[in-house]
Symmetry: C2
Subunit: 498 residues, 2 copies
């Protein structure tokens, strides 16, 4: 376009008819464009980039100091317990009409960090995630700053390729020699629901269009120890929670590799034998135990996983990527994931694009926007290599066994260590229901005391007919022998008067 | 515990029987604990905190420079287009056994940013998100560093309260005077699926347990312009995509406030009249249009929203919070959200906790782990105040109208501007199928050229019987009048030879 000539060309609005188009004088347009529109100055962007930079810079310092250094320092408290009422008093939660100053906002950042639980602290053993990996954390900052969604290659080229690289690598580790398909999800519950949906779709593709109204009653088999997401999935997907264990027409079996509480592994080979015989979809919920595939020493726990139809594997648990980073992998090579979930939205998945649209992964997902979570794990893997990832797993399991060397617990299969603390007063109570009833009340009180002191965090629950016990999950390489010993000492400190 | 005394106390392993417990000599144990376990040094944590800090520090500098400053600089390219094959050559994607050096990892960070699309750039008009808000971005860094999950108050006290604050505020803006319930989700598709599930649960609670097998055929009503997540949800939930528009027993109506392509608003009041008459669940997909509730000038677009049963509202679209930040809100006050989704996992939702367990929000979700996305929006709201949030919305719509002042398009309802570019060669082609067929090929070529040049990004699609047209979405306050004019000039530059 020659800038000095008055040129005319045509734009047409969709809400007029295309043939009612007008000629537009671009030169004129540039001149007479208003400086204000609906009272907004439109000639320059709003906001002041220097102030923005200064704010981000200060906030980054706070994050590094308080959320990274202090949060992982064993001399600091693992939590700064406040009840909801106290915390509401301490934090100025109210959202107002008027914005607040940079210094106030930075103080909100400090307070939010201060009163948050330090899940990266060496004495946090409370969940199936713990510890701080700097590479995946930095990866997460980048994906948040480069905010984008993984539906099309066009808006997420780098992250699309990295997700693809990771999925291939994980499929290789599972042992699907002929490849497979997969997708990262907002968590393991979603991945498990994907498995239910794919199994159902393979069993009867018509259900996608006509629903379950005319279908025979479908049933999912899983173990008592399987994660609750299978039941949640059955409810959401219209199968019904009562159809999760028993009778009728089974269409899928869910095996668990690493149960939530005990860290137990279902025998995949034996289950695969039966599933192959009856042509049942076999899904492995390896959200927690999948990390053992990284370990030459422990991967036998998942022996037979190369024979299954699908796998859910969370990287934000044992492998320490910041929540969320969760993969769903499927052995099928007929684009089942795409066929099962696709809706073919024309505004995203145009088929007349100028690049290979097989790189547009969005229609494999039940979501629309989807975070590039894979990048976090990709960057971490690059930095650490498979060797160090393997060491994270091997060390965590070794540390768990070290705990067991000191308490009379059989070696756990994985890194969950479950045990009772029996305070001196209970030692003289004869074994029987009365003793168990009293034992049941010990862990909640010890937990309350550790939280209020902020000295450590470790979970508890009852299980089947067993009274409340502690579940200590060891994950982070930042945990030392001293931290393990501290846990036992501290439980005794906090519970000896009970 | 007196440190200098040999004390004995009891731990019992779960896999032994509780009564086979042993006395443990803690003093002895501390002394004789091994220094190595499975070949791992266990006396001290692995890793070198100084190196970690230095890495994070350098990475933060790169993020500030490349992913914030350069990415939002109008003089820089909006994308650095490479085909999948080229990008694979440029990036060293392979994951190896051995970890790589800090300088290599930092280079991966730079490359990932360089070849990513700059969605925060003032000339990115391609999706329903754009622009950079420093406060919510900093909030996202904090939630990633403080990696935790929103299932229980115990592990996410601060973020639980902030989510609660935001949900209440949003419910107030919707106009549910008697309050309501809600939850943040990984995206609007999930929020819409929640609506389908809750509507179904209210219609027939038994479906949660027994599935749809014995149910009457259920039907969802929505408009042709509704988002594809309603269909995806119908497929996932066992209702079937064919039961989305027509016949049988309707149990919910989905109204759309701000359609994806045209930015159109369904008339909520009129739909609510009918839904109230027939006792149908009325859900409003306000993922895109919900932001108008912030604006005194534009909230009339959602008139009647206080009468509906549920609302999906994404903060990561018009309100510029980094993906993901998406709320699902429900008017019901009978804990429907909890009843519909609960699985009562005992390892998380113990009822003998020492605090008010109504702050454990996890069982309202179909997920297990769930990110504290609300914090990002909370921090942004604190910093900007309602007033400036309102200005973001008002300015975006004003800017969209400014585009329309220059092309013959009727004022859009919202900030989607849809138009055709008619190159000079087409002006002499008579109106009719031949002209439309040629017009259909224009936008894909212009798009290819703008991507390869990296000068701007703006979407295109066909729609109904209409040939490919451009959809320009204006969001960010960083967009100036010059950027809007540039879009029209640039389309002409790139397409005048077609």
């Amino acid at each position: 376009m020659k800038k000095n000539k008055v040129i005319t060309f045509l734009f047409a609005g969709l809400n007029s008819h295309e043939h009612q188009n007008h000629e537009v004088d671009l030169k004129h347009q540039a001149k007479c464009s208003p400086t204000f529109m609906d009272n907004f100055a439109v000639n320059s962007p709003t906001g002041e980039m220097n102030a923005t930079e200064s704010f981000i810079h200060h906030a980054m310092e706070i994050i590094l100091e308080d959320a990274v250094k202090k949060a992982t320092d064993v001399r600091e408290k693992v939590c700064e317990w406040r009840s909801p009422e106290q915390l509401k008093e301490l934090l100025d939660l109210e959202l107002r009409d008027k914005g607040e100053s940079e210094s106030r906002v930075l103080q909100y950042c400090r307070d939010a960090i201060k009163y948050s639980v330090k899940t990266t602290h060496p004495r946090f053993f409370n969940q199936l995630y713990a510890g701080m990996d700097p590479y995946s954390m930095v990866g997460s900052f980048i994906t948040e700053a480069i905010t984008t969604s993984l539906y099309t290659y066009e808006v997420a080229p780098v992250f699309t390729l990295m997700e693809d690289t990771l999925l291939r690598k994980m499929i290789e580790m599972i042992g699907w020699d002929e490849g497979g398909d997969g997708i990262f999800n907002p968590g393991g519950s979603m991945s498990n629901m994907y498995a239910v949906n794919l199994a159902r779709y393979r069993y009867c593709p018509d259900i996608k269009e006509v629903g379950l109204f005319a279908a025979k009653r479908l049933v999912i088999l899983t173990s008592q120890e399987g994660h609750y997401s299978i039941s949640k999935g059955a409810a959401l997907l219209g199968i019904g929670t009562k159809n999760v264990y028993i009778g009728a027409v089974p269409f899928m079996v869910n095996a668990t590799a690493g149960t939530t509480v005990l860290g137990a592994f279902d025998p995949i080979e034996e289950i695969a034998d039966i599933c192959e015989k009856y042509n049942l979809w076999l899904h492995v919920d390896a959200c927690w135990g999948g990390a053992a595939l990284m370990s030459k020493k422990h991967k036998h726990l998942l022996k037979g996983i190369h024979r299954v139809n699908s796998v859910a594997w969370n990287l934000h648990k044992m492998l320490m990527v910041p929540l969320q980073c969760s993969a769903f992998l499927v052995r099928d090579k007929t684009s089942l994931l795409q066929h099962c979930h696709s809706a073919r939205a024309t505004y995203l998945f145009q088929q007349d694009k100028f690049y290979d649209v097989s790189y547009d992964t969005g229609d494999k997902s039940v979501q629309c926007g989807r975070k590039p979570d894979a990048f976090k794990f990709w960057l971490m893997w690059k930095a650490l290599g498979t060797t160090q990832l393997e060491q994270i797993v091997d060390r965590a399991i070794a540390m768990a066994r070290l705990v067991c060397a000191n308490v009379p617990v059989m070696d756990p299969e994985y890194s969950n260590v479950c045990f009772w603390y029996i305070p001196p007063s209970l030692r003289s109570v004869p074994h029987g229901p009365e003793r168990w009833k009293k034992l049941h009340t010990v862990a909640p009180v010890v937990k309350e005391r550790m939280m209020k002191k902020g000295s450590m965090m470790i979970g508890y629950q009852a299980h089947g007919d067993k009274p409340n016990f502690f579940r200590m999950v060891v994950i982070s390489p930042q945990v030392s022998r001293e931290d393990l010993n501290f846990v036992l000492d501290e439980i005794h400190n906090l519970g000896q008067d009970l």
